[in-house]
């Protein structure tokens, strides 16, 4: 078992002919992901390593029954690309693109409220179910298939660090989800916590948050009454100065809210095992999950 993606996932890549798109598509194929189509407007007769390229998502879906899309389209055109996938009825959309304007994302979020699609990201490393499907840009070799831990995080390399330490302790992962560092994203912590709670193979959850917004506080409320599996949490940004955007568009303490301290307190109250020093998270997970 796994959440959101597995070996049945049929992947379409929007922006497949770009440098990043091409490179990461190959990495996904090498990992075993079933990549069935690519989309680049105007390049509809090409193929990349035998993967057919289409002009429009609709055509690609009709011809290949793709049910998942990974987006490498640059920021000015990324919102349109996401909307194209929503309109084509794609079930899962994974937007890697960093730098989509907030107003574009607000409109997409409103659309998603009335559509059947799930969006992961944007500004994220993607999602991987180790041993089954990799949809994103994460280094595959650090993962260990078979579970039993689910990982959800707002940050890319921070997720790699956590997964690396888990694997180092001999602890495998069911699915690892990067929900992205933007202020408005498709799938949030609660969606992932809910999915992991309901996944019979997931026995514990690692949740990695950072400063800005109140997604972690909302997650804490949710955990309190809905999550029975043990959760280990880490929040980055204790030393972040207020009012400054720390790399991620969503990582900003504004008007005294969104601090790491407030998030840590909320999670502690919800019974989450808080890891203070990221260097310890592997050992801590071994203590919490294995015992």
């Amino acid at each position: 078992m796994s959440v959101f993606v597995n070996s049945d996932t049929r992947l379409l890549v929007q922006g497949i002919t770009g440098k990043e798109g091409q490179f990461h598509t190959r990495q996904c194929v090498t990992y075993g992901t079933n990549v069935v189509a690519g989309v680049t407007p105007g390049k509809g007769n090409l193929n990349i390593d035998g993967i057919p390229v289409f002009n429009c998502v609709n055509d690609a879906v009709k011809k290949t029954q793709a049910n998942c899309s990974m987006i490498f389209v640059p920021p000015p055109f990324a919102a349109d690309a996401i909307m194209e996938s929503i309109d084509a009825g794609i079930e899962l959309i994974v937007a890697i693109t960093e730098g989509i304007p907030v107003l574009d994302m607000m409109k997409i979020k409103q659309m998603l409220n009335h559509a059947g699609s799930r969006l992961i990201g944007p500004n994220c490393p993607g999602i991987i179910t180790p041993g089954q499907a990799k949809i994103g840009i994460m280094p595959a070799q650090i993962h260990k298939p078979g579970g039993p831990i689910g990982v959800v995080s707002r940050s890319g390399t921070l997720t790699y660090e956590v997964v690396f330490q888990l694997t180092g302790q001999g602890i495998g992962q069911t699915t690892c989800i990067g929900i992205g560092g933007d202020p408005i994203n498709g799938t949030n912590f609660i969606d992932c916590l809910d999915a992991f709670e309901n996944d019979p193979e997931t026995e514990g959850i690692v949740m990695v948050g950072e400063i800005g917004g109140n997604a972690e506080e909302n997650a804490a409320e949710y955990i309190k009454s809905n999550v029975t599996k043990p959760v280990v949490g880490f929040i980055a940004g204790i030393t972040a100065p207020p009012g400054r955007r720390m790399g991620h568009a969503g990582a900003i303490i504004s008007g005294g809210s969104g601090t790491a301290q407030a998030k840590i307190e909320a999670l502690k109250k919800a019974g989450v095992h808080i890891c203070k020093n990221l260097g310890d998270i592997g050992r801590m997970c071994a203590d919490v999950f294995v015992s």
């Binding site: 920021p75 840009i137 921070l158 408005i184 980055a236 568009a249 969503g250 020093n277």
Partner: protein
Amino acid sequence: MKVHEFQAKQIFRSYKIPVPDGDVAFDHQNATQIAKGIGKFPVVVKAQIHAGGRGKGGGVKLAHSLDEVSQHASSIIGMNLVTHQTGPEGKQVKKILVESGVNIEKELYLSLIPDRETACILVIASEAGGMDIEEVAAQTPEKIIKVFINPLSGISPHHCRQVAFGLNLPASVIKEFSQILTRLYHLFVENDCSLVEINPLVITKESRVIALDAKMDFDDNAMFRHKDILEFRDLDEEDPLDVEASKYNLNYINLDGTIGNMVNGAGLAMAVMDTIKLAGAEPANFLDVGGGATAEMVENGFKIILSDDKVKAILINIFGGILRCDILANGVVEAARKTKIKVPLVVRMEGTNVEEGRKILAESGLKLFTAVDMKDAGEKVANIAVS
């Protein structure tokens, strides 16, 4: 991206949102010229810096004659203005806004922000204008009105009514207020704002509604479609090292500590800063060289860190995923040689080809410490800097 009040008011005017008559001045002659053009007193002289609390810090003064305008202009231009937002070091004032005073009957607060949770544009309004809105929200939350606008359908008259009646506005100004709010909404979405704030929005004794102050902040990610707004960027208002780093497309923020650090990925960079702090030292910066860091990015990162005199030691933490550690190690060695690095360097890297990478570092002849994990790295660099 922030702009000055006088620039925000320029944008307001283009949307027919009423603001007092006035213009920006760079010296006292300029200032008196503008005051003459206004043609009546009192005139207000306001320091133009990217920080709030200017009035309390002595950066806003009322003048009743041209002589007074000239005096205030001379004293404010060049002053070091300290407010609760500038930090104790303050900010040097280089320009002022000279504008007409108005007969204030009532002061209101009005702002628009994107709301992360609801993905709506949130209108915040209050009868308690002219005060710190965060204080009002904390002490008298009943005085805060919040109206959420769905960006797909946009602003409707009922949104305006909700705000106007919530503010207990007199019937004589409701129409004008609604018009202003509608225009403000269009200004907000058409320019990709991340904040528009008017504090205070005043009702005058003549029953007019005027934006006495104007604060705007823009979404950096949307600036590709607003070249006109980009021209308002004022480099004087930014940290010189931050500006330098932005030329290299590096995510850099200068901080107060002594440990320079370079990390790939924003979340991991924050976590490394936290690790330094937990080990008993303070980070000198935040520096994210990007999830897929290249040797060139590493070199540019070195240049920025080394131009900060506070730095006593540097910690590099790279999680080599797609980028191989051996390539990265070569980049570090080369960059360290080119930039003639003199402070101790602690390197922790992990990921693909890490053994080859470590070997390259060990054989480089550089004064360099390798760390086995993040915690070790934090402790090593803190020990070096403290000793």
